[in-house]
């Protein structure tokens, strides 16, 4: 779960990047990775123009894992010119069904 600090000068950019990552769709569920709760946070190194996305997958050997990671990198680099993106896959906290946001649940018809 990403938290935004209003005193952080980069918080607006982080929020923008988070919103942009809504364009990355899980190919099986057809729901974006933000509403699925897969993205835990974004770190930006503004001087070096580096972005690190901390995220997880719904299972450790998700067959679409590589595609989702590749999509996250493409999405950030394609929308924020000059930025290089990396993805840190983490397994703590473990993704569970409770991680899905309200909008994700609505899209899943829950």
């Amino acid at each position: 779960m990403a938290n935004f600090d209003i005193t952080d000068p980069l918080s607006f950019l982080k929020e923008q990047m988070m919103e942009t990552l809504r364009l990355v769709i899980d190919p099986e569920l057809h729901i974006n990775i933000i509403d699925l709760g897969l993205v835990y946070g974004i770190e930006i190194d503004a001087p070096k123009k580096l972005v690190n996305v901390e995220m997880t997958l719904s299972s450790s050997y998700c067959p679409m894992g590589e595609s989702i990671i590749s999509a996250v990198k493409n999405c950030i680099e394609g929308h924020f010119e000059g930025y290089d993106a990396t993805v840190d896959l983490v397994w703590e906290p473990v993704w569970s069904y409770d991680s899905i946001k309200d909008e994700g649940k609505r899209l899943l018809g829950l």
Binding site: E66, S70, N74, L108
Partner: protein, 428 residues
């Protein structure tokens, strides 16, 4: 970094198996068309033997081998041990299959049949070795691993016994007659190989595709021990004593194991996050119903066998048809369009996702063809199985014609997926 890497080598192996299996399915339906009358007789008939081996090896096993190279790494959460070994397996398996099926069809139990059996045995031993060395890389054991590895062992034993039976045609190896060993060979294949393998893989994939919150594997553990226990008891008991009243008890143990698996699937279904069930998954659920029907015919086979009533042969035929042409076929017809589009999609779109709007994996196959395929397959089930039970040839003909249509639609849709051209709908 996690996730399965889709490399070009793995893609070629998997796709080659899918295409070979689809052609075998079409050939199988044509072979059935030329053997309509044989379906009204005994199962120990050259054409029925050829058809059964084409269905079990060319269709069922071929696609399971191909899918395994993609899915076993997903289920066991590690990379495939060797792609080269997979190619060698295929290079031995295909000629072995052709030689065996042709020799059965013309029924010449000579060198071709024996070579076919040996090639198939070598192929399945290499496949098992590949699976074993893949699983060895992983530290944590899961129940899925037990299912898959036991299935591979059963496949080797099934083919080894089959090869011995082939040699028994010309060299006297067994004191008893062929039919005595045929039921052991058939059950090791159907229950030991297909059932254990398909439960092992589907118990991981069904919750994944349904996005189910049910995580417990307790039911699967019960299922594994009950099915394996029942299979071993059946093999030992029927080898020494033939079918008896004890066979009912063994059947009950095995059926309880299958029921545990069904309850597991039901729990996954009830706790699924994805409410919409697509057509490929509907096909898969149809296969579970067909498996249940096949299971329900077993007490009748035992009952009529113990009464020395020849109707037992007809029930045995129905049982085999529901297992191979019902359960296994329906599962493949559905799951192909869950797995193959993903494999092809990753090749075409992995580097484009996030940059461009792209089609989704489910957009890669022709939905209308899949609908038509499902309808024609349902017609096959509703005409062929009752036709064989009632020995009513027109129904069998209609059923086989529907199966041929199913096979053609299936093959066309496979090619639509494979010849998909990369398209994008503009920048994101």
């Amino acid at each position: 970094m996690s996730g399965i890497r889709q490399n070009p080598g793995l893609y070629k192996i998997v796709v080659t198996h899918y295409v070979a299996a689809a052609f075998c399915f079409l050939v199988l339906s044509v072979m059935m068309l030329f053997s309509v009358k044989a379906f009204a007789g005994h199962y120990f008939h050259p054409q029925i033997l050829a058809i059964t081996h084409m269905a079990a090896l060319g269709w069922g096993t071929m696609i399971i081998l191909g899918a395994s190279y993609q899915l076993i790494p997903v289920v066991l959460e590690t990379d495939l041990y060797s792609e080269k070994l997979a190619w060698i397996t295929f290079a031995l398996f295909l000629p072995g299959l052709v030689a065996l099926v042709y020799s059965f069809w013309v029924f010449v139990p000579g060198i071709h049949m024996q070579c076919g059996a040996i090639l198939l045995l070598l192929a399945v031993v290499l496949f098992t070795l590949n699976v074993y060395l893949t699983a060895k890389k992983k530290k944590q054991e899961t129940i899925q691993e037990d299912f898959i590895f036991s299935a591979c062992i059963c496949l080797c034993l099934t083919v080894a016994l089959g090869a011995a039976l082939v040699f028994n045609f010309t060299i006297s190896i067994f004191p008893q007659d062929q039919l005595h060993f045929l039921k052991l060979h058939a059950h090791m294949g159907l229950i030991g190989w297909f059932l254990l393998m398909l439960i092992g893989v589907s118990s991981k994939l069904v919750p994944m595709f349904l996005v189910s919150s049910y995580q417990s594997t307790k039911l699967l553990t019960y299922s594994y021990y009950l099915i394996v226990g029942a299979l071993l008891s059946f093999l030992v008991d029927s080898y020494f004593f033939g079918l008896s009243l004890r066979t009912y008890l063994i059947f009950t143990i095995g059926a309880t194991g299958i029921t545990c698996y069904f309850i597991f699937i039901l729990k996954c279904l009830r706790s699924r996050l994805r409410k919409h069930i697509d057509l490929p998954m509907m096909n898969s659920f149809l296969s579970f119903i067909l498996l249940k029907i096949a299971t329900l015919t077993v007490p009748f086979i035992i009952y009529f066998h113990l009464k020395n009533n020849p109707v037992t042969i007809r029930f045995s035929m129905i049982y085999g048809e529901f297992m191979l042409m019902g359960w296994i076929t329906a599962l493949i017809l559905g799951q192909t369009f869950k797995t193959l589009p993903f494999i092809v999609w990753v090749k075409h779109y992995e580097h484009l996702t996030g940059k461009f709007k792209t089609p989704m994996p489910a957009d890669l196959f022709a939905d209308n063809l899949l609908k038509a395929q499902t309808i024609s397959y349902l017609i096959f089930c509703l005409t062929f199985m009752p036709g064989c039970y009632l020995l009513f040839l027109p129904l069998i003909y209609i059923g086989i014609a529907a199966l041929m249509v199913t096979a053609m639609l299936y093959l066309s849709n496979i090619f639509i997926v494979l010849f998909h051209k990369t398209i994008t709908y503009g920048k994101l």
